[in-house]
Symmetry: C2
Subunit: 113 residues, 2 copies
DNA sequence: CTGCATCCGATAGGATACTG
DNA sequence: CAGTATCCTATCGGATGCAG
């Protein structure tokens, strides 16, 4: 959630979603087909994958291109806008990688399970 | 949500929460009392504020210091770890500020309300 | 003032099965 | 293959009221 960045509390960009970030990661190296996304996002259900893709499509982050025919072939890829999200995402991921141990240690300290 | 950054899907840092980001913003300039947080976070309920603070406390992002006495006085402030989160946060907010119009335009295009 | 207890509604995420 | 349809559950955020 990027809410509050500018004072608003808009449910911005669906980046609070559980799968959005991972989905972007899967798409960062190029177009992927529906079934190619189901596998690496282990055990996401088709329904949720569809929902997530549609939401990102609405926000202009991914583009959907259907090649008619049999069997159907649909590809999803990041738009330039979607690609631009990778920068701040990576900043967050870098932080996470660097500070995850500290967070986990803090959790341990509070819940000495 | 920073999930998936390193391949895991841990519910990392509670940054999927609705209030976490705004709360960090409110604390970035120094310690704040409970009631000083209720106001700028317009209409967050005490319950939710408490939940959010507790969660961040568990993760080592904020420190809680209670000054006993009457009336009670409790202050919350960002830990160094919490402060370090401001960097990636600002990267995201910069992105949001820059690309919000594009996202909104995309939404309009898909839902020509 | 600072918070905890309880109840509630909305929504997100998921399991399963079915269709063009 | 690429979804859709239905149902279910957990969780989140909130309203209200009470307590130290």
């Amino acid at each position: 959630m990027f809410a509050g960045c500018d004072g608003s509390h808009a449910p911005l960009f669906r980046v609070g979603g559980k799968w959005t970030w991972r989905l972007i990661r899967c798409l960062e190296d190029g177009p992927r087909r529906f079934s190619e996304l189901l596998v690496p996002l282990r055990y996401i259900t088709p329904k949720v994958l569809t929902e997530t893709l549609r939401a990102m499509e609405r926000d202009g982050l991914v583009a959907r291109s259907a090649h008619p025919g049999m069997p159907p072939r649909v590809e999803y890829e990041l738009t330039p806008l979607g690609h631009s999200l990778l920068d701040p995402m990576n900043a967050c991921c870098t932080w996470a990688a660097a500070h995850l141990p500290a967070v986990l240690a803090a959790r341990e300290a509070h819940e000495p399970a």
